[in-house]
Symmetry: C2
Subunit: 192 residues, 2 copies
Amino acid sequence: MPKLWNETIEAHRRTVHDAILDATVELVRERGLLAVTMSQIAEKTGIGRATLYKYFPDVETILAAWHGRHVAAHLEQLARAGERGGDAGQRLEAVLETYALIHHQMARHGFGPDLVALLHRPDDVGHAQHRLSAMLRDALADAARAGAVRDDVAPDELAAFCLHALRAGAVLPSQAAVRRLVAVTLAGLRAR
Amino acid sequence: MPKLWNETIEAHRRTVHDAILDATVELVRERGLLAVTMSQIAEKTGIGRATLYKYFPDVETILAAWHGRHVAAHLEQLARAGERGGDAGQRLEAVLETYALIHHQMARHGFGPDLVALLHRPDDVGHAQHRLSAMLRDALADAARAGAVRDDVAPDELAAFCLHALRAGAVLPSQAAVRRLVAVTLAGLRAR
């Protein structure tokens, strides 16, 4: 087959794939995690059940794929935040604020603890958390060398502190409250 | 029946009840959450299956009861920490350290994210988290009035920050690291 044809097929598959993920997440939001079936997903996506099963074996696998797409997008967003201009302290602040706002927005879009707990299966978490921790540890080590962060506590311990503290973004009522959370977290990182 | 007899019955029921909880948690640790059956629990507790069903309808209900017992014990432990001597700042510090150490010890005893996610069903969390947040918010408000904590961020926002940050105790390798976590968290609370 000509290359262009293959690309068209691939683009079509990708479109259907993404439409399935979006339909599933919307159904889960509407009906709750345990009430969603493959038939409902096929209907909402506008494809046949047989076609759906060519893409995914079950609801959990669809949600895991959706989660993987999100995590990849968030890691990308955090990496970009860390590459903006400014000194090491400003770059760290940009990463922390982005991370807290991601949790705030996820919670506002209805991804409550039950969905997150299901999706955060050890394998997924292991990989994504590892990349996230490494990214943050490097940003903290840079900031410590530049004197913008305390150096009496190791960067990996400070990274654990930040990652947990900033998840409070999920329970705060506004972006202004999230920015205060980031300021309090940064104050902990700076003090000696 | 005489009162003493009723008390003996009640004490016996309590003993069996607690033995079922302990046997279940031990089995879950050994075999994983999804592999444990009511038959195994009856056998490990040393009672018949029929007796077990007089106490609990299923494994999940046993784990929820076990979790409830733990949460009550932890809230009690935190309340006692907050009633020790010292000024408002010292009492707050005692509560924060106790909370971080509870998470550290839970993680060391093998209560990983999957078990915690299952047990933290919205109802349970709602109630226990509410009491915990209220306790911490009061301790923070007292400390802010005493000048030991910043007053430019509301106590409930500071409470959300603390509760999330100190859960990092679960991933830290030692009690010394947990104490550094508490120190960093307190530095965030104190700075202006």
